[in-house]
């Protein structure tokens, strides 16, 4: 299994937080009609996807010499 890069770990955490926000936000919307969490979660999810597309085009991160051995 491929080990995700540090950027990948960051984006994975952002995606997990945004999916959690969308899920809890949808529940909150169903309970009370409040949209703030759903909105922030959706915005964050969109930004995570766009950032992933952007960062995929960047040159690969340089691995520190100590980690290469």
């Amino acid at each position: 299994m491929a080990v995700p890069s540090r950027r990948g770990v960051f984006l994975l955490l952002a995606a997990m937080l945004s999916i959690l926000s969308v899920g809890v936000g949808a529940w909150l919307f169903w309970l009370s009609g409040a949209r703030h969490l759903l909105l922030v979660g959706g915005l964050m999810l969109c930004l995570t996807v766009l950032t992933w597309i952007w960062w995929r085009r960047l040159p690969a991160e340089v691995v520190a010499p100590s980690r290469r051995t």
Binding site: R6, R7, V9, F10, A14, L17, S18, L20, S21, V24, G25, W27, L28, L31, S32, G33, A34, R35, H36, L37, V40, G41, L43, M44, L47, T48, L50, T51, W54, W55, L58, E61
Partner: protein
């Protein structure tokens, strides 16, 4: 809708602190190479700042939908009969005098157990009146817990 308003106010008040904390966190993440340097790192900063808002809203939702009602039920009824999964409706109202109202759908066992401890028993002749389980107030605060049909309803706030 008032809950959206309250969170909008919190977002405005905490705008500068969240951006400042996100900037510090972003610098640390850039140093550790979790986000790229230069222009591409801006997206990382925006994600960290949005993550801060998401955590703020998630914390508030966790408090208002899970922790606070469980604590209040334990205080007013002895134990939490309504669980987060049984929650059917939530309303946050008021601005300077905020109040929260929760509606839970109860199962038959809990409903029967709670019906035995009504403060005001529903009179048979006058039709259905709510079975009040707890009611108290002072000059600033009020709280009431009652049964309506198969729902446990609880309100707690300031007046």
């Amino acid at each position: 809708m008032a809950y959206d308003g309250a969170m909008l106010l919190a977002s405005i008040v905490l705008f500068i602190p969240i951006l400042a904390i996100a900037a510090i966190l972003h610098l640390i993440l850039r140093k550790l190479r979790f986000v790229p340097a230069a222009r591409a790192g801006l997206a990382g900063y925006a994600l960290v700042a949005l993550g801060g808002y998401a955590l703020l809203f998630l914390g508030s939702a966790l408090n208002l939908l899970v922790l606070k009602p469980a604590h209040l039920q334990a205080k007013y009824l002895g134990r939490a009969y309504g669980t987060p999964l049984a929650l059917r409706s939530f309303e946050h109202s008021g601005f300077q005098d905020p109040a929260d109202e929760w509606h839970y759908l109860l199962d038959e066992t809990d409903l029967a157990a709670l019906k035995r401890s009504c403060i005001v028993q529903p009179p048979v002749a006058k039709g259905p009146e709510p079975c009040v389980l707890y009611a108290d107030r002072d000059e600033r605060w009020f709280a009431e817990v009652w049964l309506e049909g198969s729902e446990l309803r609880m309100i707690d706030g300031l007046h």
